[in-house]
């Protein structure tokens, strides 16, 4: 709903987009809301479709509540990481950074050979985006750094979670 509202009303987009100067002025909600707004209908459609598929996978794995809880931390950390890693970037909008975090988190939570193979594909894709960044057919610059930071944070959260659970079982 937020994604669609941002598309229809520029004022909503302006109030929610992750904007460096505004965050520095204290508008901290943008660290979360920037991931929810999109630049055009195609952008929103692709990201919302990926969100639905990843949510379905998480639900099948019975991990959706844990993933949503993790997202509350993943979103602001991804925003801060992006603003620090790309000092020239003034603003960012879109879910895909978070979705890459979800993918990495789910792969590590699932484990096994198939997850390992999928993880290698994900790592190769992220490396390729850094080496040869392509905008694809989108009508705006695609910020690939968000994908990389999101995946690293997602993997990091999954590993911390795994260690915590191991420690709890051991204790």
């Amino acid at each position: 709903m937020v994604a669609l509202a941002g598309l229809h009303w520029p004022a909503v987009f302006d109030a929610l987009v992750l904007e460096r100067d505004a965050v520095l002025r204290g508008q901290l909600w943008r660290l979360w809301s920037g991931h929810l707004v999109h630049l055009d209908l195609r952008h929103a459609t692709f990201n919302l479709a990926a969100l639905a598929l990843l949510a379905a996978i998480a639900a099948r794995m019975r991990q959706l509540p844990a993933l949503l809880r993790t997202s509350l931390l993943l979103m602001p950390l991804l925003s801060i990481g992006l603003l620090l890693a790309a000092p020239a970037l003034q603003w960012y909008a879109g879910l895909s950074g978070l979705l890459h975090g979800w993918a990495a988190w789910l792969l590590l939570r699932h484990g096994g050979r198939i997850a390992l193979a999928a993880g290698i594909v994900l790592a190769a894709k992220l490396a390729w985006e850094q080496i040869a960044p392509a905008t694809g057919s989108m009508a705006f610059p695609v910020i690939h750094a968000a994908h990389l930071i999101g995946a690293l944070l997602g993997a990091g959260f999954a590993l911390i979670d795994r260690k915590t659970r191991h420690a709890a079982r051991g204790g």
Binding site: L39, F46, N47, L53, Q90, G97, F140, V142, I143
Partner: protein
């Protein structure tokens, strides 16, 4: 009711004032302290955009909107004569340097050099809009120049009419003075966004400047130095423009993609078609595995 004689005097005074203003504005270059002889070339942005007889008509009321990131055209203001010694390749090279300064700016989508043959001398905004439509431009950067080789026995200053007023360059005898200026306009709103001047003066020996080859070489070097000075000033002018827009809000910068306010360099994170396919495949595999298990 006015006395008839007084009224005639007033009418005469008014006509004289209008004539004086017209003469002052029509000529882009004037000289102080006569007696100095000169040869020079000029292309004035004032002459080009506001030829004599043009009435000033703002294109839109209220705060003008400029859509960014912009497609920018860079060109010399047309002139019947080019600076002595300056070849077409030189002019192209100089514009490329200016283009490089703009290129790094986040508000530029693309920037291209437009041949000045596309512009009609004294063509006004109508001509500029035609070129902008033809080339698909939102913003134009017009480079104008004035160069004077002062060969007389006495010193002479020259007065250059920039878009914001007169600019006096003091000169001495046997000297080449060059003034260049980049003036950036949003074509749709006919709004001047920023300007950056550059100038150079260099002396020659009293015999050397009279030799045409030496004068050509001096003119060329002076023009290139003035352009380099302007390119340096352009960086500052762009920075000052960004600060002015934020502080004073003279123009509204609109993001052409989102329709919201312009925020500088940015973008979106987006999934691609094949990634959706891969996720769909992963979900199908998971469902299959659960069914079998």
């Amino acid at each position: 009711m006015d006395h008839p004689r007084l009224s005639t005097t007033r009418r005469f005074a008014r006509a004289f004032a209008v004539a004086l203003a017209t003469v002052a504005i029509a000529g882009c270059t004037s000289f102080f302290s006569g007696g100095g002889s000169r040869s020079g070339v000029s292309s004035s942005v004032v002459d080009y955009l506001y030829p004599p007889g043009t009435k000033f008509e703002p294109a839109q009321e209220g705060v003008p909107e400029v859509r960014l990131p912009a497609r920018v055209g860079l060109m010399f203001v047309p002139s019947s004569r080019t600076p002595a010694g300056l070849t077409v390749a030189d002019r192209q090279q100089l514009l490329e340097k200016v283009r490089d300064t703009f290129k790094a700016q986040p508000f530029i989508d693309r920037i291209e050099i437009v041949p000045d043959s596309y512009l009609r001398p004294r063509g006004g905004f109508e001509n500029l809009e035609q070129v902008a439509r033809l080339q698909g431009l939102d913003i134009v950067a017009l480079v104008s120049y004035d160069q004077v080789a002062n060969t007389g026995d006495t010193a002479a200053s020259f007065l250059y009419w920039t878009i914001i007023g007169a600019y006096t360059v003091p000169a001495t005898r046997n000297q080449v003075s060059t003034f260049v200026e980049t003036t950036v306009f949003d074509v749709g709103s006919r709004t001047m966004l920023l300007r950056a001047p550059g100038q150079d003066q260099r002396d020659a020996g009293s015999t050397a400047i009279r030799a045409s080859e030496a004068r050509d070489e001096l003119s060329r070097a002076s023009f290139q130095a003035a352009m380099a000075d302007m390119t340096t000033n352009l960086d500052g002018a762009i920075l000052s423009f960004s600060e002015r827009v934020r502080a004073e809000g003279q123009v509204k910068l609109v993001d052409r993609r989102s329709g919201g306010s312009w925020k500088g360099r940015g973008g979106g994170g987006s999934m691609l078609g094949w990634e959706l396919g891969a996720l769909l495949g992963a979900l199908a595999l998971l469902m299959l595995a659960r069914r079998r298990g």
